[in-house]
């Protein structure tokens, strides 16, 4: 099945002209020579195979029977964080679906049993982040708003802390909301390692539970959960009935409606890291049915026109607007931002299998934040936060979740 899926993407692979733009952020955006790269595995390993373009060629070689799936191929493909920046960079010049090919390749390798086994998360320590908060549980109670804390809140202390803070912010803003008693995992680890069958099952299960909550709005704490619910679930036909928003979007609304006041000054210089799955990877899919035709000899076009996901409709503005609202805070952008933000290195299962890639990406990102003069690096994804903090020697630059900062600015500390 996965090979057939790859075959349907053959024409996408063949669009690759080996220009290596997949290794660079779109060139109009480049500001600093040190920070031009788009691809963490290429930065670490350098071989072309690790790049978005390299992945296209390897997939094509597989389809053409020139290579078979083996440990080398599996190891190379597993170095991809699935951040999708190569997809954005390539689409700057032509509409080619790089990310689709990479995911399909991962799925195929996983199907054949060659994917390196991801390290199991240490989930032995169960935390109850809700202790003392007196939160409603859905669907037992009724509420229009569901707070989706994310699986990590149960075993990661910082994630748990951010979840508590978000809950307290909502309470403080008099939002009527609830949580799920037994919140499902989003399945992102399944998605980005190519375990598509398990991912599909998990997505179905999660959407069932979310729909059963009867909530009208789902607020996700973690950026990657937003990406799953808004983009990757619908892609495979599982779309939650509720409207899915990220915590930053919801909190911004509260601020704009004057239900949440940020009164406490934070005299720091901060920059913001756009999580991949909150940003470019969170665009809702655009399904298309039509036909491909040729005109003027060999020019291909689609009827009706095929919509392209350029990665620009993710959640970029809300976090920034919030940061600009916090008194005393000076907000400064990094060089690679929004749809062309550099990956932290924490995705794709990469920290388990290629810790060197995760490390070098995170280090590069922290360097970039320091280079623009930031004293705090803010993000909105727990995977990003963990990876950006993990590799620092001696806590060079504090990395905080946006919710934590809002919490402090609201004076709730």
């Amino acid at each position: 099945m996965s090979l057939e899926r790859l075959e349907t993407l053959r024409h996408e692979m063949k669009k690759c002209v080996r220009c290596s733009l997949c290794k660079l952020v779109p060139m109009p955006t480049i500001q600093q020579t040190r920070f031009t790269s788009a691809c963490p595995p290429v930065d670490e390993y350098h071989f072309h195979a690790y790049s978005g373009g390299g992945m296209q060629v390897m997939a094509l070689a597989l389809l053409d029977g020139r290579i078979t799936v083996d440990r080398d191929l599996a190891r190379i493909v597993s170095a991809c964080t699935t951040c999708g920046l190569c997809d954005v960079s390539c689409k700057f010049i032509m509409p080619a679906e790089r990310q689709d090919v990479i995911i399909a390749l991962k799925e195929h390798i996983m199907d054949l049993g060659f994917a390196p086994a991801p390290k199991m998360e240490n989930k032995s320590t169960q935390m109850t982040w809700t202790d003392g908060l007196k939160l409603k549980t859905l669907p037992e109670s009724k509420s229009n708003v569901l707070l989706f804390a994310g699986g990590g809140a149960n075993y990661d202390s910082l994630h748990a802390a951010s979840a508590r803070k978000l809950a307290q912010l909502l309470q403080y803003s008099c939002v009527d909301f609830g949580i799920l008693t037994d919140e499902p995992e989003s399945g992102i680890e399944l998605f980005w390692t190519g375990q598509h069958e398990f991912f599909e099952s998990q997505a179905r299960l999660a959407v069932d539970q979310l729909d059963n909550s009867n909530a009208k709005i789902i607020v996700t704490l973690c950026g990657e959960d937003l990406g799953m619910l808004r983009s990757k679930y619908p892609r495979i036909g599982h779309t939650p009935k509720a409207k899915v928003v990220h915590a930053s979007e919801f909190l911004l609304q509260l601020i704009q409606k004057r239900k949440l006041h940020l009164v406490h000054a934070i005299p720091e210089c901060v920059t913001y890291h756009d999580p991949c799955y909150l940003g470019r990877q969170s665009e809702p899919p655009q399904f298309w049915q039509g036909e491909e035709r040729q005109t003027h000899g060999v020019m291909r076009y689609f009827v009706p026109p095929k919509p392209i996901n350029y990665g620009v409709n993710g959640v970029f503005d809300a976090p920034r607007q919030i940061l600009r609202t916090i008194p005393g805070l000076r907000f400064i952008e990094m060089y690679r931002i929004r749809e062309y933000a550099y990956c932290c290195g924490g995705g794709g299962g990469v920290p388990d299998v290629h810790p060197n890639v995760a490390r070098s990406a995170a280090t590069q990102r922290v360097d970039e934040a320091c280079d623009v003069g930031a004293t705090i690096l803010v993000t909105a994804c727990q995977h990003c936060r963990q990876n950006l903090m993990r590799w620092q020697d001696g806590n060079t630059l504090p990395v905080v979740d946006l919710v934590d900062l809002v919490y402090d600015a609201a004076g709730l500390r």
Binding site: K14, V17, C19, S20, G53, V57, I67, V298
Partner: protein, 1067 residues
Amino acid sequence: MAHTDIITCLKELIPTGTLITDLDKLNLSTKYGTSQHGHLPICILHPGNADELASIIQYASQSNVCLTVTSSTGSHRKGGITNQDEHILIDLSQWKKIDLIDRRNRVCRIEPGITYAELTDTLSAHGMTIPMPLSPRNGKSVLAAMMDREPTTWANKQWDSSDPVGSTEFFFSSGERFRTGAAGGPGTIEQQRLSGGAQKHSAGPSQTDFHRVVQGSQGTMGIVTWITLRTEIMPTVQETFLVGTGKLDDLLDYIYTVQRRLLGEHFFVLNRTAAALLISGGDVQTFEDLRNSLLGFVGVQNIAGFERLPRERLAYHKQDIERIAHQSNLQLEPQIGRLDAAELFNKATHPCGETDWRDALLGGCLSIFFQSTLDRMPALLKAFTETAAGFGIVESEIGVYIQPMVQNHVGHMELMIPYNPRSLEQVDRLRQLERQATIHLMDSGAFFSRPYGSAAELVWTQNPSNTQLVKIIKGIFDPHQLLQRSKWFVVEKQHPVLTHEGRDISELENIVGRQWVSTAPCVLDTYAYYMNPETMNKDGSQWLPRPAAVVLPQSTTEVQEIMRFCSNSQYMAKPLSTGFHTAAAASNKNVIILDLKRMNRIIDIDFKNQIAVVEPYVRAIDLQTEIVKHGLNCHIVSSGANHSLLASHAAAWGYGVTGTATSFSGRNLLGVEWVLPSGEVVTLGSAGAGCGWFSPDGPGPSMRGIVRGFQGTFGGLGVFTRCAIKLYKWDGPREWELAGQSPKYVLKKIPPRSALNAIAFPSRSAEKDAGYKMGEAELNHGEFRTPMFFAALGLTESNEELKIALESGIFQKIGQDIISTAIFAGSDEEFTWKMKALKEILRETGGVIIPMNLPMRPAVLKLAGRLIKNIRDPLALLRRFPVLQDLIQHLPVYNKLKLEKQSTLFWLLFRNANNTQAAFRPSQGMATMLGAFDTWDLAHTQAEYVARIKQPYIKQGLILDDGGDLGSGGAFENGHLGYLEGIILYDPGNPQSSMVARELVQIGVNAAIDHAMGVPIAAFGVEANRVLGPACGNYHIWLARIKSALDPDMASDPFFYAESLDEGDRS
């Protein structure tokens, strides 16, 4: 053989020439410099024509008689005609033809005997002139001076060290006649001219710059029979000023700032002694009075206006230069002391008489000259004066002449001491001083690119690997050492030892480390897939040969080891940087790919001298991002700024959309570190001599000519691990704010003093004229012909929109002859002048600036297409009333659209962010036909041809119907050169379409031969050279000889360069 026998034979070979055996005349012919060396010639020959010369050379070759050549008359200061062995002197000073004078293309052709006075007199009747050395003597041969890389006073016009030399014709010592540059073929000169060529560009033919090897060789590599010269327009108005200062240091900032902006025309520096020498004409009192009236140094600043708005041009140049002078506490003066600027300039730019001005005062003058960068010259001067003091020479006796060269990327410094040649004591003392000073200067970083005097002996140990390379090349160009035998060194015959052991790839792990070698099939296949596979694959398939391994070295040392491994094994090496094109592919399964991605450092940026030194994986965008903050830009080629600078400058092609301001990559190369196939390293030019990365040429002949020609060697002759490139001024914004999102990034505002336009011309003829006029006016920083299809492509976001745009018919009516241009200016006055000049040109040619604030949305295009269906020229009104163009542009409507389109031009013409890649959207395949480099007229001839020849294939639906004419490119070096490559858009996923692309490229090669349209851009490598070589002086055999000599073990993949010769063909 007895002399009498030789003379008898020679007499028979020159029926229309003369032969001289008179002893007095023989004696005169050897007089030079501070001493005489070597033998008198057996005789002096004046061959009547080139055929007689050929006969002489062939005779000499058969009889092993040495040859020397002269073209100048009078006393030879630098003494290039003496020889250690017995020799015949060939005197070409009576070859006096000037022809092919071409005002439109600013070029002429001359024979060796032409002097400066003869040439300038002839050219002035055509409104032209040429850059000239500082007041040459009457008998000085222009050809000899130019072939000696003698500096001229007009550095702004010198884009490359070999300028103003264009094409040449020379004889090898075998008697083979060979033409270089555009003249190299295909076709005769007349045939080339019929196609629009003018034998102007100097590169090639093909992958070697033969002229660079002959230039600077002082007659040791070939005998030159004619050259074409780049000419310049005569000034309509001009003024000259002096900038005086006590210390040389105080002038430097002024020079750097003025020269960076290419303000003014001629410029040079003299100290008071040199100025007095030049003006006094030998009169001692005048000399003393003048010298005493001056401060230490004087810069001579000439400012001019030419045919277009001359007074206004002069005015703004003068204003800007005055401003700069003021910033350095200097002033432009018409006179300083007894020195009148106009008089000095007149003297400097005209021949000085029979006797060289340096010798006029006392009869002789020691002259030591070398190259360096301007900022190092005060220290070099100090080194010299200290040495001179040790010989009792005081500072006031020393003349100093400093000449910026190559647009001030390098400087020529000449130190002079007049003396009485009849005083044996003085002669002896100065001879000793000359030697000691030369050593001291060399140790202090002076680069003796043109070795004379003691330098002629000493330079060869400074850079032993370069010297060895020169010897090898000499062994190819002149295997029997007939030309100036024993000059500089004796060349031993090479005896290559071929050893190919069966070695294991895993040994590479010991060189670079295990993790940097891969033999995994999945990895190897990512190096078997490139753009334009039809370049190698005849069957239309996409996959290229899978290499044996991919290895990623990090240092030059590692590269050397890998090359040694390949030298000594069954494997060959193929380096790549970004690897965009099939030219980066392995040609067979025994090739090891060297992916140079880990060698990605910017080694140095010399902002002052505008030089950057980079490793192979420094991309253009990387460097440009750094240097633009300092008001500099680099030449970026049309594949887009993600290309490797080193690959483009040293190993591949070189066309880019800013060529009018930033030239061509091959002409911007200032130095190379080169790992030869043997694994030895040679660093060329001044860098190899330890002097810095400012000059790639010399000492003597330039081995840069072997590194590349019109095209590079594409990894077929070792690996380049570092190179220096020329940087250019950048008058545009040093930073800018971005808005928008992918794929439409937009500038928040258009930078001040800039104009980004797409200009539509009513016809090809008008477009051609405009290209020349814009070039002469030196208007543009970026310039790119954007034919109809590309204009439509650039203005639409999808193929669906593009289809509608094409079907509307609008672009066909207004857009076939469009040039997109970018003007940036360094001052408000400059911008005002440029815009005025542009408008004038547009009025003259009927050009229309297409309003950018018109909504080119599909629905609007459909409607507009219906409306203009019956209108022949929709732009007629705008053409007739140019003021309407301004009015529409400034209407406060659709400003956002206007900003978008101007931003697109900014990304295209400056940032090169959407160049070649943009061509892939329609059909994912792009190939190119023709695209030879010479004149703008030839470029259009090629484009027209391609448009015609594509039609049958378009009709069959095998390639994209783009109208046919997708001739893309532009003018170079302010219109001096031009090119258009005929783009073919095809479907690489369709084997038939791929094969058609290949077939068309081949048709282009054949057409280039049949219609004398130059060497096509895509014609390189073994297969193409076999076809083109015979039509271009058999250059392919010379390439093969070079390959054999430098890569006897076949360590480098030859496919895209040259095969080695069989043993029998090695001679």
